[in-house]
């Protein structure tokens, strides 16, 4: 039971991170109907930027933790958002209206490019970071005591807060309305005066900012990153988006939690070697048997 509870906490933490990345996939897919294959790389860049920001703050001597965390969070979100914006501008916008596969291939190219770009600039070695937020509370004493670490609490809390903020942005602001309009019909949105290009750019910016948060969380949580973390995390987050129903924001979060839990429980109770197989299998099963996911709307084939 205590083992189960511990895994539940770990799973939720991991799931929150996947959920944050998945939102980027789901928003982009909703608005331009393409898989932003390079989104995992954006997350990886977010992780690197937060690592660098921590180190810079350390050198500058800003050590009061709440302030440091806030600065790192903002720096990661802002700088990563620039990557998201540039990605769309260079690799996707010129291909709008081209065959779908062309955009997907461009995205794969961008993913390869960014991975090697970071590897060349920052080195291929694994980057460690000392624990920034140590400690936690012990929920249950026993042979295996159940710990709920502060960092886990922070990840889950931050995810909930960000989810709330972004849901509000999409539900209430003009930007969010424009995004929902573009999701329905881009031509019509343009006709009623919505700047479609800017709306799409903003979608990438928002997705990148959330991925940056996920990157920061991972840096804090595991304390070690490398240039290759984007690939697997990207695929798992995409799986989460599909499981939740691609295009649906709460779906992405739900899917993220599910994938996180499945992965953690699979490793805990079956085999850790095949934990990635579990994620891939879920992806395949969902796409084959229920491509609309848990919360997606069914698609009627237009003839």
């Amino acid at each position: 039971m205590d083992y189960f509870l511990q895994q539940l906490i770990n799973g939720l933490t991991l799931g929150a991170i996947y959920g944050l990345i998945a939102i980027g996939y789901t928003m982009v897919y909703g608005i331009i109907g393409m898989i932003n294959f390079a989104h995992g790389e954006i997350y990886m860049i977010g992780a690197f930027i937060s690592l660098i920001a921590f180190l810079v703050l350390g050198i500058l001597g800003i050590t009061w933790l709440p302030l440091a965390l806030l600065i790192v969070l903002l720096a990661a979100m802002v700088f990563t958002a620039f990557y998201g914006w540039t990605l769309e501008r260079l690799a996707y916008r010129p291909l709008r209206g081209s065959p779908r596969l062309a955009a997907l291939i461009s995205a794969i190219g961008m993913s390869i490019f960014l991975q090697n770009y970071v590897q060349l600039l920052q080195g291929a070695r694994v980057k460690p970071l000392q624990p920034v937020i140590p400690g936690g509370i012990v929920l249950m004493e026993g042979t295996i005591s159940v710990r709920f670490n502060y960092i886990q609490m922070m990840i889950i809390a931050a995810t909930i807060v960000l989810m709330a903020i972004f849901s509000l942005i999409i539900a209430k602001t003009a930007m969010g309305r424009a995004q929902r309009a573009c999701q329905q019909d881009q031509t019509m949105s343009a006709l009623v005066g919505i700047n479609v290009d800017r709306t799409i750019s903003m979608t990438f910016v928002m997705g990148a900012a959330l991925a940056a948060v996920a990157g920061m969380m991972v840096t804090l949580y595991y304390g070690v990153i490398d240039f290759f973390i984007g690939f697997l995390a990207g695929i798992k987050a995409f799986t989460a988006a599909v499981v939740g129903g691609i295009g649906s924001l709460p779906g992405a979060m739900l899917g993220g939690l599910l994938i996180g839990l499945i992965e953690v429980f699979w490793s805990a109770y079956f085999t850790i070697e095949y934990k990635d197989v579990a994620a891939f299998s879920i992806l395949i099963l969902v796409l084959v048997f229920r491509p609309t996911g848990l919360m997606g709307k069914p698609e009627i084939e237009k003839v």
Partner: protein, 442 residues
């Protein structure tokens, strides 16, 4: 002249645009290029590289300005019209190019500069050309984006390795078996997923590719996991080995033909082996493209709904493409295993799949010669210029993006009809394409 005046370059706007690009470059460069994480005693520390940032910002600013100027000039000239001309010329020159290319490939081992390194690169290039041609069936003709193609390459390689080691079967027996096994895998994996839409299919095939790789890593009893399989038997020339000393009661290649022993013999033999395999793949594709099933592949790529309204079974048709593509990957895989003598899951990562897809797509989907050109650019180029090795994958990803943006249908994307009613019009240089008229004209 009023219209021309409207298009006059506005220097302020141009500077503003370039300035904006420079600013974005600054924001991109500061965290990742300007600040380098370096290992130091007691953890990581930061090294600054502001010169790099300055170079990045400066080159983006100037590059953007040049782009604006170039665009302006293009506008005044009145649009790109030479594109069609190039395509037409290439189309006309195609048979000559193809013949020259095959002649060069056949003669390569006897050319004066063909040393060990050149031949090794030749083998590598031919392997990718073969993989590209095989995948061209799936991606180029049938329009199914397969991001897990390397899985079938792996199945072929491991099938050969295991069959040859455990059952002591010869290469020529293992080759068809490995192809058949890979095709069987293609069929099994394709069956449930081929009804998925384009990009979902791509992700699912990627998933399959990774699953197979993870299984190869973890099924230690069969595959020896990450250690890989070594000591894979080398192929023989109709039973003649390429060893220095002949077995007591027989011959090796060089004693049989009365040649001096040279380690190059085996390399040359392997080179011709992959050349023949690749050419067979090419001949097969060219032929099947003109059969009903090949036309149905292309039709499915163009419009699946129309195909259904004409009574074409989409699933079976896609499945044949997927299975046949997997089969050729299996052949290429067993060649890879026998050439290397050693295989491990390392060789079958997603990036390999991406490279093969890039070769097909950049060359121009469905274009056989496009595959060759793309392989030469992407594989041979970086191999020949060693200094570029480090930047190879970076350039690779960048090229994929740029070529897609510039020509979304690929570099050499044009197709000849598979059947004609009228003889092809005579073109410059007087090169007819006689073969194409085979069935149609009477």
């Amino acid at each position: 002249m009023a219209a021309a005046a409207e298009h006059r370059l506005d220097p302020v706007a141009a500077l503003k645009e370039a300035g904006l690009a420079g600013f974005v470059a600054l924001m991109l460069a500061v965290p990742l290029a300007g600040l380098e994480t370096v290992s130091a005693p007691g953890g990581l520390t930061i090294n600054t590289r502001w010169d790099w940032v300055a170079i990045a910002v400066g080159s983006v600013f100037i590059g953007r300005l040049l782009l604006i100027l170039w665009r302006e000039r293009g506008r005044r000239r009145g649009g790109p019209t030479m594109d069609l001309g190039i395509a037409e010329t290439l189309r006309t020159a195609m048979p000559i190019l193809a013949a020259a290319g095959i002649a060069f490939a056949v003669l390569l081992p006897f050319l004066p500069f063909a040393d060990r390194r050149v031949l090794d690169i030749g083998i590598l290039v031919m392997t990718y050309i073969m993989l590209g041609w095989g995948l061209n069936i799936v991606v180029g003709l049938a329009g199914l984006l397969d991001l897990g193609y390397v899985a079938f390459y792996a199945v072929g390689a491991y099938s050969y390795a295991l069959l040859a080691i455990h059952f002591d079967l010869s290469f020529w027996l293992c080759l068809p078996l490995a192809g058949a096994l890979a095709a069987f895998f293609g069929y099994l994996l394709g069956f449930p997923v081929l009804r998925l839409r384009g990009d979902y299919l791509a992700i699912v095939t990627l998933g399959f590719g990774e699953i197979i790789r993870i299984i190869l890593i973890n099924w230690y009893d069969l595959t020896r996991g990450p250690d890989g399989i070594s000591g894979i038997p080398r192929p023989s020339f109709f039973g003649l080995d390429f060893a220095r000393s002949p077995p007591p009661d027989g011959h090796t290649f060089h004693t049989f033909f009365g040649l001096d022993f040279s380690p190059l013999h085996r390399i040359i033999f392997l080179y011709y082996l992959i050349l023949v395999l690749a050419l067979v793949t090419n001949a097969f594709t060219l032929r099947i493209r003109r059969l009903p099933v090949g036309r149905a592949w292309e039709a499915l790529r163009e419009d699946e709904i129309a195909c259904r309204s004409l009574g074409i079974n989409p699933r079976n048709t896609k499945l044949t493409a997927f299975t046949l593509g997997a089969m050729f990957a299996g052949f290429a895989g067993s060649f890879f295993a026998t050439r290397q003598g050693f295989i491990s899951p390392e060789s079958f990562t997603f990036i390999e799949s991406a490279i093969i897809v890039a070769i097909v797509v950049l060359g121009g989907m469905g274009s056989q010669i496009g595959v060759v050109v793309a392989t030469l650019v992407l594989i041979a180029g970086p191999e020949l210029i060693r200094e570029l090795q480090e930047f190879r994958m970076l350039a690779f990803g960048g090229l994929m993006v740029m070529i897609m943006v510039w020509r979304p249908r690929g570099l050499l994307a044009f197709r000849d009809p598979t059947v004609r009613l009228h003889p092809p019009p005579r073109r410059r240089f007087g090169l007819g394409r006689g073969k194409a008229a085979e069935t149609g004209a009477k």
